[in-house]
Point group: C2
Chain length 412, copies 2
Amino acid sequence: MDEDSYEQPRAVADDTRYSLETRLIRTLLHAFGNPPIGFTLWNGDKIGPLGSAPVATLHISDRRTLLRLCTDPDLQFGELYSAGKIDVDGSILRMIEELYLGAAEAAQPMSFRRRLAAWRHRRTRNTLHGSRENIHHHYDIGNEFYSLWLGETMAYTCAYFPTPTATLDQAQIAKMDHVCRKVRLNRGERVVEAGCGWGALALHMARHYGVKVRAFNISREQIAYARERAKEQGLANEVEFVEDDYRNITGHYDKFMSVGMLEHVGAENFEELGRVIDGCLKDTGLGLIHTIGRNRAKLMHRWIDRRIFPGAHPPSLKEMMDIFEGRNLSVLDVENMRLHYAKTLEWWNILYERAIDRVAKMFDERFVRMWRLYLLGSQAAFTVGELQLFQVVFSPGRNNQIPWTRADIYQR
Amino acid sequence: MDEDSYEQPRAVADDTRYSLETRLIRTLLHAFGNPPIGFTLWNGDKIGPLGSAPVATLHISDRRTLLRLCTDPDLQFGELYSAGKIDVDGSILRMIEELYLGAAEAAQPMSFRRRLAAWRHRRTRNTLHGSRENIHHHYDIGNEFYSLWLGETMAYTCAYFPTPTATLDQAQIAKMDHVCRKVRLNRGERVVEAGCGWGALALHMARHYGVKVRAFNISREQIAYARERAKEQGLANEVEFVEDDYRNITGHYDKFMSVGMLEHVGAENFEELGRVIDGCLKDTGLGLIHTIGRNRAKLMHRWIDRRIFPGAHPPSLKEMMDIFEGRNLSVLDVENMRLHYAKTLEWWNILYERAIDRVAKMFDERFVRMWRLYLLGSQAAFTVGELQLFQVVFSPGRNNQIPWTRADIYQR
């Protein structure tokens, strides 16, 4: 990339000697804290970032694309990139990292428009029916698609890399053992799992820890896949896969486990989740919730909410406490594994790129680009600390049969 | 104790066949969920608990004492016990446990009166001057007094018992190593400690981890004691004890450490504490706050607030998040060590009872009883889960040099 061909870094937004396009782009970059991103326009014009070499250059295909981007960049970048109206030369990952880092500088309290969006979200989204629609949107697009890049375990949640050199499959198994150890599974216990994906953890618990599992999920495709696996592995008597909402959990259990569901629950339902846990967990029980979270409350990125995860909300720890505090559930242990999710996504991105020809055949080019952006954007978000990964262990407040220390988790 | 001499368990509060005293006591017990506590009156009358044998029997010295107790039991039990107007036959510890368990059944949302108290508390208590008064009240009553029952380390915070059979002194040293490991102290680093007690941890960090420590405390007696110890141990160049408020911390540090101070900060100052941490902790730094807490927000017990810890407030995790969320500080690790504090207090209670003759000589009988009630009441509160002990590790949100896992904490 030829840096000299870029215009010199200075404020040009109001300088009429510059083209309208240049002034629009300068204004846009300013709103994002002047990240090191360059632009190449349809007419060959180049507009460089202020003060440093670009980590990526956006190729804008026409004037209409530029105008749409400038009007609502949060939403439109994803739309226009997916549609092929914007191409990226350089690292999408580094570009999104820089966007997060730059935008944080100019962070604003929640605007009226955002509040309105939050209110609509609360009113319409994660009802029993709404949750089913939302989950269907993301998880029922085809088990074969996910099998291309999730690795052998089909675990679609943050892995745990005991060392950074572990493989993805090793790390997914290590994650399953990590959460099993954290809730101190004992042979013969009854475990309820809220949101079980394709069933890997439920089957792992039954096979390696000798427990009976009831696993809930409202994704029809995932439940069908999980039941098939249970049969293949001879575990159909040990693991019951229930196609139903976590709000309909019945029975009493020694352990409550939920890995990667809370993101889809919505903060407005946290008290209700607390009620469900309080109702099904024995007095001497332990529970674990593993979830994407944030350092402070914030709405989901709008493009992700529209195209990838409708109704999703990664909560802050403060928001999460609504699950526990109303029911005298005692938080025993919180671990933040943010960088493990960055590494998990690094693996998924490599496997995804290896499979894009097949993805393109299954879907189309727009889908390939949409999911590339989502997966790279997620990796960037965990790398810069825009997103966190929390594992929270808890227990009924009166339980004195809680683990004495955490040393046993780390003894092999 | 002769159970048959007690009246039969039934509701008698409105039954005029019973004496006024009996009806008062039944009403009182009912308000606390009918705990198994018996009463013996000045005239020899005995009133037993409903439905079970008493864990303790209160000897009420006169009618005026009974009336005071019934008017405002939360506050007056401590006052009357301290004054010797009430004696306890049986286990004070078990009695307070039963009171906590029973009262939780009938827990109410915060009344107007409590809200008013909370508001007064907020308005008047933990200013720079107010904090100094509050801390003086508790910590400056004599280093010799504390040395009678805190053990050799003079650490007046929850110990960490690697196994339940460790001694108090072993467990206090293990606690110091536990927090040092959690913030991954490295030789040559600069550490700031907010609220350093008698200096045990500051000196331990300097001696065993080779770090430079600036330790803040507003208790004059503690600071004097700590400086003396630093000189004796030849660590006066490694550890600087500063008699000042945490709000006046200056400089930049690799690590922030605070063990047992947050209880005295007050939730209204948590954002300010976040500002202080954000201002003094390096971008690659780690911090730890060790504090008594709760499963949900609640005001301090009124008698403890009046006689023992004016201005103190053990926060819920939700309240604590105000320290972190406004400043993009990332919570990495939370550990709840409630039962370790119950065991620590069990040790303190044994040592305290061994020293009561000396305590009586230093102060008076009222003081002996007041502190016995406080120490036993605290043990009961941790045993039943009325109080928690949280250790929270955190870091600036952009720091990617955070610990990869927690396994290293447990490797010896």
